[in-house]
Symmetry: C2
Subunit: 213 residues, 2 copies
Protein backbone atom coordinates (compact mmCIF):
# COMPACT_ATOMS: atom_id res chain seq x y z
CA UNK A 1 0.00 0.00 0.00
CA UNK A 2 2.59 2.49 1.10
CA UNK A 3 5.32 1.53 -1.31
CA UNK A 4 3.74 3.14 -4.36
CA UNK A 5 3.78 6.61 -2.84
CA UNK A 6 7.10 6.54 -1.02
CA UNK A 7 10.15 7.28 -3.16
CA UNK A 8 13.58 5.95 -2.23
CA UNK A 9 15.27 9.03 -0.91
CA UNK A 10 13.56 11.96 0.77
CA UNK A 11 15.73 14.42 2.74
CA UNK A 12 15.44 13.82 6.47
CA UNK A 13 14.55 17.48 7.00
CA UNK A 14 11.46 16.92 4.84
CA UNK A 15 10.50 13.83 6.84
CA UNK A 16 10.92 15.81 10.06
CA UNK A 17 8.24 18.28 8.92
CA UNK A 18 5.59 15.71 7.95
CA UNK A 19 4.45 15.01 11.54
CA UNK A 20 3.93 18.78 11.98
CA UNK A 21 1.80 18.95 8.88
CA UNK A 22 -0.19 15.94 10.00
CA UNK A 23 -0.81 17.44 13.42
CA UNK A 24 -2.04 20.71 11.92
CA UNK A 25 -4.29 18.85 9.46
CA UNK A 26 -5.83 16.77 12.25
CA UNK A 27 -6.53 19.97 14.12
CA UNK A 28 -8.17 21.48 11.03
CA UNK A 29 -10.29 18.37 10.52
CA UNK A 30 -11.42 18.66 14.14
CA UNK A 31 -12.45 22.23 13.43
CA UNK A 32 -14.71 20.97 10.65
CA UNK A 33 -12.61 22.03 7.67
CA UNK A 34 -12.60 19.87 4.52
CA UNK A 35 -10.04 21.42 2.21
CA UNK A 36 -6.87 23.36 2.81
CA UNK A 37 -4.53 25.44 0.65
CA UNK A 38 -0.78 25.18 1.08
CA UNK A 39 -0.92 28.82 2.25
CA UNK A 40 -3.36 27.99 5.07
CA UNK A 41 -1.34 24.98 6.15
CA UNK A 42 1.82 27.11 6.04
CA UNK A 43 0.24 29.64 8.39
CA UNK A 44 -0.63 26.91 10.89
CA UNK A 45 2.85 25.43 11.01
CA UNK A 46 4.82 28.65 10.59
CA UNK A 47 6.21 27.77 7.16
CA UNK A 48 5.68 28.98 3.59
CA UNK A 49 3.29 27.70 0.94
CA UNK A 50 6.22 27.03 -1.40
CA UNK A 51 7.98 24.94 1.23
CA UNK A 52 4.91 22.84 1.86
CA UNK A 53 4.24 22.26 -1.84
CA UNK A 54 7.87 21.25 -2.34
CA UNK A 55 7.84 18.89 0.64
CA UNK A 56 4.64 17.19 -0.46
CA UNK A 57 5.84 16.94 -4.07
CA UNK A 58 8.34 14.27 -2.98
CA UNK A 59 5.37 11.96 -2.51
CA UNK A 60 3.46 12.85 -5.68
CA UNK A 61 0.75 15.43 -6.13
CA UNK A 62 -1.99 15.48 -3.52
CA UNK A 63 -3.79 18.66 -4.55
CA UNK A 64 -5.16 20.31 -7.63
CA UNK A 65 -3.86 23.74 -8.59
CA UNK A 66 -6.20 26.36 -7.18
CA UNK A 67 -8.53 24.05 -5.27
CA UNK A 68 -6.16 23.03 -2.48
CA UNK A 69 -5.90 19.68 -0.77
CA UNK A 70 -8.62 17.48 0.62
CA UNK A 71 -7.76 17.41 4.32
CA UNK A 72 -8.91 13.83 4.79
CA UNK A 73 -6.99 12.49 1.80
CA UNK A 74 -3.87 14.36 2.89
CA UNK A 75 -4.16 13.02 6.45
CA UNK A 76 -4.59 9.50 5.10
CA UNK A 77 -1.59 9.79 2.79
CA UNK A 78 0.68 11.30 5.47
CA UNK A 79 -0.33 8.58 7.90
CA UNK A 80 0.61 5.95 5.33
CA UNK A 81 3.91 7.62 4.52
CA UNK A 82 4.84 7.86 8.20
CA UNK A 83 3.65 4.30 8.88
CA UNK A 84 1.06 5.59 11.31
CA UNK A 85 -1.61 3.27 9.97
CA UNK A 86 -0.81 0.90 12.84
CA UNK A 87 -0.03 1.02 16.57
CA UNK A 88 3.66 1.22 17.54
CA UNK A 89 4.59 -0.41 20.82
CA UNK A 90 7.27 1.41 22.78
CA UNK A 91 9.46 0.61 25.79
CA UNK A 92 10.54 3.28 28.27
CA UNK A 93 13.89 2.74 29.98
CA UNK A 94 14.31 4.72 33.17
CA UNK A 95 11.35 5.13 35.54
CA UNK A 96 12.48 8.38 37.19
CA UNK A 97 10.37 11.55 37.16
CA UNK A 98 10.62 11.96 33.41
CA UNK A 99 10.11 8.29 32.53
CA UNK A 100 7.01 8.14 34.70
CA UNK A 101 5.67 11.39 33.25
CA UNK A 102 6.09 9.98 29.74
CA UNK A 103 4.51 6.66 30.69
CA UNK A 104 1.41 8.55 31.83
CA UNK A 105 1.44 11.01 28.91
CA UNK A 106 -2.07 11.30 27.47
CA UNK A 107 -0.89 12.36 24.04
CA UNK A 108 0.47 8.96 22.98
CA UNK A 109 -2.65 6.82 22.88
CA UNK A 110 -4.57 8.59 20.14
CA UNK A 111 -1.47 9.17 18.02
CA UNK A 112 -0.45 5.57 17.38
CA UNK A 113 1.92 5.00 20.28
CA UNK A 114 1.41 2.36 22.97
CA UNK A 115 3.85 2.28 25.89
CA UNK A 116 3.91 -1.41 26.89
CA UNK A 117 7.12 -1.81 28.91
CA UNK A 118 8.96 0.25 31.54
CA UNK A 119 12.34 -0.64 33.01
CA UNK A 120 14.48 0.60 35.86
CA UNK A 121 17.21 -0.82 38.07
CA UNK A 122 16.26 0.80 41.37
CA UNK A 123 14.70 -1.53 43.97
CA UNK A 124 12.35 1.29 45.06
CA UNK A 125 10.61 1.39 41.69
CA UNK A 126 10.98 -2.12 40.22
CA UNK A 127 7.68 -3.93 40.74
CA UNK A 128 5.74 -0.69 41.26
CA UNK A 129 2.96 0.37 38.92
CA UNK A 130 3.22 3.41 36.65
CA UNK A 131 -0.25 3.93 35.26
CA UNK A 132 -1.28 0.41 34.27
CA UNK A 133 2.26 -0.93 33.70
CA UNK A 134 4.51 -2.62 36.24
CA UNK A 135 8.14 -1.45 36.19
CA UNK A 136 10.45 -4.37 35.32
CA UNK A 137 14.09 -4.75 36.24
CA UNK A 138 16.44 -3.61 33.49
CA UNK A 139 18.20 -7.00 33.66
CA UNK A 140 15.16 -8.51 31.97
CA UNK A 141 15.04 -5.79 29.29
CA UNK A 142 16.69 -7.54 26.35
CA UNK A 143 14.56 -10.67 26.74
CA UNK A 144 11.28 -8.77 27.21
CA UNK A 145 11.86 -6.52 24.21
CA UNK A 146 12.96 -9.40 21.98
CA UNK A 147 9.93 -11.42 23.03
CA UNK A 148 7.49 -8.63 22.11
CA UNK A 149 9.44 -7.63 19.00
CA UNK A 150 9.52 -3.98 20.05
CA UNK A 151 11.45 -1.65 17.74
CA UNK A 152 11.13 1.74 19.50
CA UNK A 153 12.37 2.84 22.90
CA UNK A 154 12.44 6.02 24.96
CA UNK A 155 15.64 6.48 26.96
CA UNK A 156 15.32 8.40 30.23
CA UNK A 157 18.17 6.88 32.25
CA UNK A 158 20.92 9.00 33.88
CA UNK A 159 23.52 10.24 31.38
CA UNK A 160 26.28 7.92 32.52
CA UNK A 161 24.12 4.86 31.83
CA UNK A 162 22.89 6.10 28.45
CA UNK A 163 25.41 4.54 26.05
CA UNK A 164 25.48 1.08 27.66
CA UNK A 165 21.70 0.96 27.98
CA UNK A 166 21.28 2.04 24.36
CA UNK A 167 23.65 -0.74 23.27
CA UNK A 168 21.48 -3.28 25.11
CA UNK A 169 18.41 -1.89 23.36
CA UNK A 170 20.13 -2.36 20.00
CA UNK A 171 21.01 -5.95 20.98
CA UNK A 172 17.32 -6.46 21.69
CA UNK A 173 16.46 -5.36 18.15
CA UNK A 174 15.43 -1.77 18.83
CA UNK A 175 15.84 0.39 15.72
CA UNK A 176 14.63 3.79 16.94
CA UNK A 177 15.51 5.54 20.19
CA UNK A 178 14.12 8.78 21.54
CA UNK A 179 17.02 9.95 23.68
CA UNK A 180 16.19 12.21 26.62
CA UNK A 181 19.68 11.94 28.10
CA UNK A 182 22.28 14.64 27.47
CA UNK A 183 24.63 11.99 26.00
CA UNK A 184 25.27 11.70 22.27
CA UNK A 185 24.77 8.00 21.54
CA UNK A 186 27.17 6.09 19.26
CA UNK A 187 25.14 3.33 17.64
CA UNK A 188 25.08 1.38 14.38
CA UNK A 189 23.98 3.42 11.36
CA UNK A 190 20.71 1.51 10.97
CA UNK A 191 19.51 2.66 14.40
CA UNK A 192 17.65 5.97 14.34
CA UNK A 193 18.14 8.33 17.26
CA UNK A 194 16.27 11.53 18.02
CA UNK A 195 17.57 13.63 20.89
CA UNK A 196 15.32 15.66 23.16
CA UNK A 197 17.37 17.91 25.38
CA UNK A 198 15.53 20.90 26.84
CA UNK A 199 18.83 22.65 27.50
CA UNK A 200 19.85 22.64 23.84
CA UNK A 201 16.46 24.05 22.86
CA UNK A 202 16.68 26.75 25.50
CA UNK A 203 20.25 27.63 24.51
CA UNK A 204 19.17 28.00 20.91
CA UNK A 205 16.63 30.63 21.95
CA UNK A 206 19.13 32.46 24.16
CA UNK A 207 20.96 33.45 21.00
CA UNK A 208 17.98 35.55 20.00
CA UNK A 209 17.33 37.00 23.42
CA UNK A 210 20.74 38.58 23.25
CA UNK A 211 21.29 41.16 25.90
CA UNK A 212 17.60 41.33 26.66
CA UNK A 213 17.88 40.08 30.21
CA UNK B 1 32.01 41.93 23.71
CA UNK B 2 29.78 39.67 21.73
CA UNK B 3 28.75 42.15 19.10
CA UNK B 4 32.02 42.03 17.18
CA UNK B 5 31.72 38.32 16.43
CA UNK B 6 27.98 38.06 15.81
CA UNK B 7 26.87 39.03 12.30
CA UNK B 8 23.36 40.29 11.66
CA UNK B 9 21.80 37.29 10.02
CA UNK B 10 22.74 33.68 10.62
CA UNK B 11 20.31 31.00 9.43
CA UNK B 12 18.31 29.58 12.32
CA UNK B 13 19.35 26.06 11.33
CA UNK B 14 22.97 27.07 11.98
CA UNK B 15 22.05 28.53 15.38
CA UNK B 16 20.23 25.31 16.23
CA UNK B 17 23.46 23.33 15.78
CA UNK B 18 25.69 25.53 17.96
CA UNK B 19 24.42 24.12 21.30
CA UNK B 20 25.25 20.62 19.98
CA UNK B 21 28.78 21.66 19.10
CA UNK B 22 29.20 23.30 22.48
CA UNK B 23 27.99 20.22 24.29
CA UNK B 24 30.41 17.97 22.39
CA UNK B 25 33.28 20.38 23.02
CA UNK B 26 32.56 20.49 26.74
CA UNK B 27 32.61 16.69 26.75
CA UNK B 28 35.97 16.69 24.93
CA UNK B 29 37.41 19.21 27.39
CA UNK B 30 36.27 16.95 30.24
CA UNK B 31 38.13 14.09 28.55
CA UNK B 32 41.33 16.16 28.67
CA UNK B 33 41.52 17.14 25.00
CA UNK B 34 42.95 20.55 24.06
CA UNK B 35 42.49 20.84 20.29
CA UNK B 36 39.95 19.45 17.89
CA UNK B 37 39.67 19.19 14.12
CA UNK B 38 36.37 19.85 12.39
CA UNK B 39 36.46 16.16 11.40
CA UNK B 40 36.65 15.01 15.03
CA UNK B 41 33.89 17.38 16.09
CA UNK B 42 31.79 16.18 13.16
CA UNK B 43 32.15 12.58 14.31
CA UNK B 44 30.95 13.49 17.79
CA UNK B 45 27.82 15.28 16.63
CA UNK B 46 27.04 13.12 13.61
CA UNK B 47 27.74 15.82 11.03
CA UNK B 48 30.42 16.48 8.41
CA UNK B 49 33.63 18.49 8.70
CA UNK B 50 32.50 20.75 5.84
CA UNK B 51 29.21 21.50 7.59
CA UNK B 52 30.97 22.43 10.81
CA UNK B 53 33.50 24.66 9.07
CA UNK B 54 30.72 26.40 7.18
CA UNK B 55 28.61 26.89 10.33
CA UNK B 56 31.52 28.34 12.30
CA UNK B 57 32.57 30.57 9.41
CA UNK B 58 29.49 32.71 10.02
CA UNK B 59 31.17 33.91 13.18
CA UNK B 60 34.68 34.42 11.79
CA UNK B 61 37.57 31.98 11.75
CA UNK B 62 38.26 30.16 14.98
CA UNK B 63 40.84 27.67 13.73
CA UNK B 64 44.00 27.56 11.67
CA UNK B 65 44.07 25.35 8.61
CA UNK B 66 45.63 22.03 9.54
CA UNK B 67 46.02 22.62 13.26
CA UNK B 68 42.35 22.52 14.23
CA UNK B 69 40.58 24.54 16.88
CA UNK B 70 41.57 25.23 20.46
CA UNK B 71 38.76 23.59 22.39
CA UNK B 72 38.78 26.18 25.15
CA UNK B 73 38.72 29.15 22.78
CA UNK B 74 35.94 27.57 20.76
CA UNK B 75 33.89 26.86 23.92
CA UNK B 76 34.39 30.43 25.06
CA UNK B 77 33.34 31.88 21.71
CA UNK B 78 30.27 29.65 21.37
CA UNK B 79 29.22 30.56 24.91
CA UNK B 80 29.47 34.25 24.03
CA UNK B 81 27.58 33.81 20.76
CA UNK B 82 24.78 31.92 22.50
CA UNK B 83 24.71 34.38 25.43
CA UNK B 84 25.63 31.61 27.83
CA UNK B 85 28.12 33.78 29.65
CA UNK B 86 25.42 34.49 32.26
CA UNK B 87 22.69 32.65 34.16
CA UNK B 88 19.21 32.64 32.59
CA UNK B 89 16.30 32.52 35.00
CA UNK B 90 13.36 30.44 33.81
CA UNK B 91 9.73 30.01 34.91
CA UNK B 92 7.92 26.67 34.55
CA UNK B 93 4.15 26.87 34.03
CA UNK B 94 2.35 23.64 34.83
CA UNK B 95 3.43 21.58 37.84
CA UNK B 96 2.17 18.22 36.62
CA UNK B 97 4.42 15.16 36.21
CA UNK B 98 6.44 16.76 33.43
CA UNK B 99 6.71 20.21 35.01
CA UNK B 100 7.91 18.69 38.26
CA UNK B 101 10.39 16.45 36.45
CA UNK B 102 11.81 19.49 34.66
CA UNK B 103 11.95 21.54 37.86
CA UNK B 104 14.12 18.82 39.41
CA UNK B 105 16.19 18.22 36.27
CA UNK B 106 19.88 18.06 37.19
CA UNK B 107 21.08 19.11 33.75
CA UNK B 108 20.01 22.76 34.02
CA UNK B 109 22.18 24.09 36.83
CA UNK B 110 25.60 23.64 35.25
CA UNK B 111 24.43 24.75 31.83
CA UNK B 112 23.37 28.29 32.63
CA UNK B 113 19.69 27.74 33.45
CA UNK B 114 18.10 28.52 36.80
CA UNK B 115 14.47 27.55 37.36
CA UNK B 116 13.21 30.17 39.82
CA UNK B 117 9.39 30.05 39.49
CA UNK B 118 6.78 27.31 39.09
CA UNK B 119 3.07 27.92 38.57
CA UNK B 120 -0.05 25.81 38.55
CA UNK B 121 -3.76 26.39 39.14
CA UNK B 122 -4.60 23.19 41.01
CA UNK B 123 -5.23 23.56 44.76
CA UNK B 124 -3.49 20.23 45.36
CA UNK B 125 -0.14 21.51 44.14
CA UNK B 126 -0.22 25.29 44.75
CA UNK B 127 1.81 25.97 47.89
CA UNK B 128 3.63 22.62 47.69
CA UNK B 129 7.39 22.43 47.24
CA UNK B 130 9.01 21.04 44.09
CA UNK B 131 12.67 20.70 44.93
CA UNK B 132 13.45 24.00 46.65
CA UNK B 133 10.71 26.03 44.93
CA UNK B 134 7.16 26.58 46.13
CA UNK B 135 4.48 26.26 43.44
CA UNK B 136 2.62 29.57 43.04
CA UNK B 137 -0.89 30.09 41.73
CA UNK B 138 -0.99 30.90 38.04
CA UNK B 139 -3.11 33.99 38.85
CA UNK B 140 0.05 35.61 40.26
CA UNK B 141 2.13 34.62 37.22
CA UNK B 142 2.20 37.87 35.27
CA UNK B 143 3.13 39.94 38.30
CA UNK B 144 5.83 37.53 39.52
CA UNK B 145 7.47 37.24 36.11
CA UNK B 146 7.35 40.99 35.51
CA UNK B 147 8.83 41.63 38.94
CA UNK B 148 11.80 39.32 38.33
CA UNK B 149 12.18 40.37 34.69
CA UNK B 150 12.18 36.78 33.48
CA UNK B 151 12.37 36.32 29.70
CA UNK B 152 12.19 32.51 29.32
CA UNK B 153 9.44 30.08 30.26
CA UNK B 154 8.77 26.37 29.94
CA UNK B 155 5.15 25.54 29.17
CA UNK B 156 3.86 22.21 30.49
CA UNK B 157 0.16 22.96 30.93
CA UNK B 158 -2.60 20.84 29.34
CA UNK B 159 -3.03 21.52 25.62
CA UNK B 160 -6.31 23.37 25.94
CA UNK B 161 -4.71 25.92 28.28
CA UNK B 162 -1.58 26.37 26.17
CA UNK B 163 -2.50 29.35 23.98
CA UNK B 164 -4.09 31.48 26.72
CA UNK B 165 -1.25 30.75 29.15
CA UNK B 166 1.33 31.59 26.51
CA UNK B 167 -0.42 34.91 25.85
CA UNK B 168 -0.19 35.74 29.57
CA UNK B 169 3.52 34.91 29.47
CA UNK B 170 3.99 37.31 26.57
CA UNK B 171 2.09 40.00 28.50
CA UNK B 172 4.55 39.43 31.34
CA UNK B 173 7.47 40.14 29.00
CA UNK B 174 8.54 36.57 28.21
CA UNK B 175 10.37 36.38 24.86
CA UNK B 176 11.22 32.68 24.63
CA UNK B 177 8.95 29.72 25.34
CA UNK B 178 9.86 26.06 25.37
CA UNK B 179 6.52 24.50 24.50
CA UNK B 180 5.90 20.95 25.73
CA UNK B 181 2.21 21.05 24.84
CA UNK B 182 0.97 19.56 21.56
CA UNK B 183 -0.54 22.95 20.61
CA UNK B 184 1.02 25.20 17.99
CA UNK B 185 1.20 28.61 19.67
CA UNK B 186 0.25 31.77 17.79
CA UNK B 187 2.32 34.57 19.30
CA UNK B 188 3.90 37.86 18.21
CA UNK B 189 6.86 37.46 15.86
CA UNK B 190 9.37 38.69 18.44
CA UNK B 191 8.56 35.78 20.77
CA UNK B 192 10.66 32.68 20.12
CA UNK B 193 9.02 29.31 20.54
CA UNK B 194 10.64 25.89 20.47
CA UNK B 195 8.32 22.89 20.53
CA UNK B 196 9.18 19.64 22.25
CA UNK B 197 6.66 16.98 21.36
CA UNK B 198 7.83 13.39 21.84
CA UNK B 199 5.11 12.16 19.50
CA UNK B 200 6.39 14.19 16.56
CA UNK B 201 9.92 12.89 17.15
CA UNK B 202 8.71 9.30 17.37
CA UNK B 203 6.57 9.69 14.25
CA UNK B 204 9.56 11.00 12.35
CA UNK B 205 11.46 7.80 13.14
CA UNK B 206 8.51 5.59 12.22
CA UNK B 207 9.04 6.65 8.62
CA UNK B 208 12.36 4.86 8.62
CA UNK B 209 11.18 1.79 10.49
CA UNK B 210 8.80 1.15 7.62
CA UNK B 211 7.30 -2.28 7.71
CA UNK B 212 9.87 -3.45 10.25
CA UNK B 213 7.39 -4.13 13.00
Amino acid sequence: MTSDIVPDIVPDIVISRLPWYLQALNQMAKEGMHTVSSKMLAERVGSTAAQIRKDLSYFGGFGKQGTGYSIYILIDQLQQILNLDRIWRVAIVGAGDLGRALARYQGFANRGIDVVLIFDNHPNVVGKKVGSITVRHVDTMVDSILELGIKMAILTVPGDAAQSTAECLVMAGVKAILNYTPQTLKLPADVHVQNIDPVLQLQRMMYYLGNNQ
